[in-house]
Amino acid sequence: MASSVALSQMRSVNPALQFLKVIPGVLLLAAVGYAGKLLEANLGKYAKAHHWTFPNIEYVLWAILIGLVISNTVGIPEIFRAGVATYEFWLKAGIVLLGARFLLGDVLKLGGTSLALVGIEIVGAIAFMTFLGRAFGLKPKLTSLLAVGSAVCGVSAIIATQGAIEADDEDSSFAIAAILALGALSLFTFPLIGHTLHLSDHAYGVWSGLAVDNTAEAAAAGALYSDAAGKLAILTKTTRNALIGFVVLAYAFYWASRGQAQAVGNKAKFLWQKFPKFVLGFLLISTLATAAFFSKEQIGALANLSRWAFLLTFAGVGLRTNFRALSKQGLKPFAVGAIGEVAIAAFTLGLVLAAQRIFGW
């Protein structure tokens, strides 16, 4: 028996097998993303040649839409699932490579402004979501998960907090479903609101980074507006992600003080474990670009590599969103999430409009 357990365990972690397992899904991500790129390039030309009036739809939206159609009609066959789940990996690699397009001085300047706005957003979002959770009678740990998910960085923050406060898996899946469903809606509503209010690329990008919870959706919502807005959405969202450890630590202390979670031993180790390492990668590549380690052509090549990585991410955002599965997760957490997200979006929009006036974005 021991040997059979050992063999199955060994097999399940064989790196070569793991690698082979993700290939079909990664190819699907690439096919969906590339189809979006081809549609952007060719549909406009075709419409123009036939004198049709057709809006210019970016590859980002095409990739997401194709993914959504596949996911919500035929579904994702088992063979593709492991590879489709790698979209977050591509997102993080893309963010690190995107560092080449930022000079360190700009990162510090923009990051400093973002940090102030992010600080206000986090405090406001946690306070409001906690109030809403109590008003709706949600379980306290579910309320904590929703508050962290909407205040910091969506799914990653919920998973990190779940472990730290020893919340139920069910609470975690409720919170994740609510955050993902609302993230999907933001892809369509945010650009619409931005265009209606004639927000500048800068203001819109910062707003998306502040208000959209999951990093992939924040990047997509920004890129749907413009390339410049996409860059700023990622920078602002990365600033938010950098604070995840502190927020999770605060919640871990809170629940430990109530005797409902284990006390945190080494705080520095805890913070390091929760800190998103891709933020450091982004800063390092940005530092190298600032120090002229890369030529102009090389920076262009790195920027294009980052675009290809994001292409896979945007395809994954559509492919992993299944509205039927999300709707099964219960109405109350979704209602709390929806009301909270609308309030946070309005609050952060107010912050951004005020900053736009002050800083002249």
């Binding site: 591509w90 490579l97 890369f294 590599l305 290809w308």
Partner: protein
Amino acid sequence: MSQQQEVAVTPVKKRGYSIDTWAVLLAFVLAALVRAGVFKHIPW
């Protein structure tokens, strides 16, 4: 027997880096290849 199991399970526990770390490593390798001139032009 239990010792056998312990030995077998050890690689699972000790296994690898987080997805973040792998993503950073891949990005650094790509950046190094671009810097070394292996990838001269990446089309978009």
